[in-house]
Amino acid sequence: MSKAMFVIVAFFVVGVVSVAHSVADEAPISGTVKAIDTSAKSLTLQTTAQGKTRDVTIVLKPETKIVKFARPTEPRKSGFVEQPLTLSDLKPGWIVSVTTKHEGGNEVAEIVTVVLEKP
């Protein structure tokens, strides 16, 4: 095999690994809302992954969606309807799931889904 071939294979491997890692970074994070900072537009989640519990601060962008699902109020309608929320609607203790992407050393939220509103 020529050196050129090896370089091509090496680039392919590195490329695949990078893509795979970026996919893994975008795996959803679920946890309990620990704190909300509306001025910094961030929320802190207590989450456990791979056996380790840690606090993760997630930054929200203007395009980040925060939603919860509720039963429709119209009679004879079934299923769930998506209700938009704002960051200030979230409360500590709620359980949420967040799809994120890694940007500039931060976890940036794409969609925050409320799983359970704790009273």
Partner: protein, 411 residues
């Protein structure tokens, strides 16, 4: 040479990356089985949940199913889906996907106590917490009956019409059955009736014989007389083994145990085998809430207690079997028989290592309260007050060498 090395390295790297992509860590978190349908590893429920068995009638009671549906639709469907397919709108993006309750095989493997544990504790317990489960714990928001009702409704998605019990779903105890076949059958027999080929050789034509798990009589319990033991009781017996009360055939048994200790078996495997053992006796599923004997805090050992204990030992006729000095040589000892009409020895109380139900003060207290079912050892739970029981416990323990030393030390 170098080219070959580079080629080999490239192939190895490519294979590793390929394997990683085929089975990335994010999907491994879903458990071993049925993961394509959101299945989770069905680990044994912990001891504190092991005796939670849903009353059989609940599974098919229309009122309970309707009650469960109402709760499910308002609390569970947002993740688990209206159709129980695990595809509720809030569940789609969860790191650990909700299971598909329509998956007959996956549901059949879930034991009821596992199911109740999952509903009660949600994702707050391992191994689900470590996998990032977002399942809320419902124990503080739903009553026990409400949780049963939700389970009964969830059960309808799998299309099974009967109660969710091991004799309907033998696959739920398959692992325990395999362990039982390897470790227990020689003594307890294939059907768990205590008729294995090795058992009688340990004590020919004498008690004790291996336990018949299908009967209602279990010697070592923390439950009142006449009741089945708790899973914790069975776990203790399995872990510690059963000490021999002596006799020529038991000489040389490891640790003087007529049943070996399985303390080296992993806890999860011990719990699995006990789930199988319980599946052999429907009484475990048909009983109501499990009550256990309370062992109050041990009082201080005093000479007065020993004096009162000695009198109780005589008044309660302990010496008739165990003898005046506790050597198991009382006047009734030669005539004692167990419920299989086999001669049985009175325990030599001077040798603590032969106390089958444990030799700690709380063990002896528990034995006095529960008695040993199937043997002549009666229960004193109704005839003696707790304080009297402690007097007797201390006196019994004083009959052994260790007890006499403790007695001397207390003076």
């Amino acid at each position: 040479m170098r080219a070959k090395l580079f080629t080999s390295l490239a192939i190895v790297l490519g294979l590793l990356v390929g394997l990683w992509l085929v089975r990335p860590p994010a999907t491994r978190a879903n458990g071993d089985k049925h993961e394509e349908k959101g299945g989770h590893a069905h680990v044994p429920a912990p001891i504190e949940y092991a005796d939670v068995h849903v009353p059989l009638s609940v599974w098919t009671d229309p009122a309970m199913v309707a009650r469960g549906k109402e709760i499910y639709m308002t609390r569970c469907a947002v993740c688990h889906g209206d159709e129980g397919d695990g595809r509720g709108p809030a569940g789609v993006a969860l790191p650990l996907k909700p299971p598909d309750f329509r998956d007959k095989d996956g549901v059949a493997e879930m034991r009821a106590n596992y199911w109740f544990w999952r509903v009660s504790e949600g994702g707050q317990v391992e191994p689900f917490k470590g996998k990032g489960s977002a399942m809320p714990p419902w124990k503080s928001e739903l009553s026990v009956e409400d949780r049963w009702a939700v389970m009964a409704y969830q059960h309808t998605f799998s299309g099974h019409n009967g109660p969710h019990v091991p004799w309907e779903h033998p696959e739920s105890v398959a692992m325990g059955r395999d362990i039982f076949a390897m470790a227990c059958v020689p003594c307890h027999g294939v059907a768990g009736k205590g008729d294995g080929s090795v058992g009688p050789m340990l004590a020919p034509r004498r008690a004790p014989q291996p336990r018949d798990f299908t009967s209602a009589e279990f010697k070592f319990r923390s439950t009142p007389s006449g009741q089945l033991p708790t899973t914790a009781d069975l776990f203790r017996t399995l872990t510690d083994g059963v000490r021999s009360s002596g006799g020529p055939m038991t000489i040389g048994l490891r640790g003087h145990r007529i049943m070996p200790s399985f303390q080296h078996m992993p806890v999860a495997q011990r719990l699995e085998v006990l789930e199988y053992v319980k599946s052999l006796n429907r009484g475990f599923w048909e009983r109501g809430a499990v009550k256990t004997v309370t062992v109050p805090a041990a009082p201080t050992l005093t000479p007065e207690r020993l004096t009162r204990g000695k009198k109780l030992y005589a008044d309660a006729e302990c010496l008739a079997c165990h003898g005046e000095r506790g050597r198991g040589d009382g006047p009734s000892a030669p005539t004692l028989k167990d419920n299989r009409d086999l001669p049985i020895a009175a325990t030599d109380l001077t040798r603590r290592e032969r106390f089958k139900n444990g030799a700690r003060p709380e063990d002896v207290y528990r034995t006095l309260v529960t008695g040993l079912a199937g043997t002549p050892m009666p229960s004193y739970g109704d005839s003696l007050e707790p304080d009297q029981l402690w007097d007797l416990v201390y006196y019994v323990l004083s009959l052994s060498r260790g007890g006499r030393m403790a007695e001397a030390g207390s003076r």
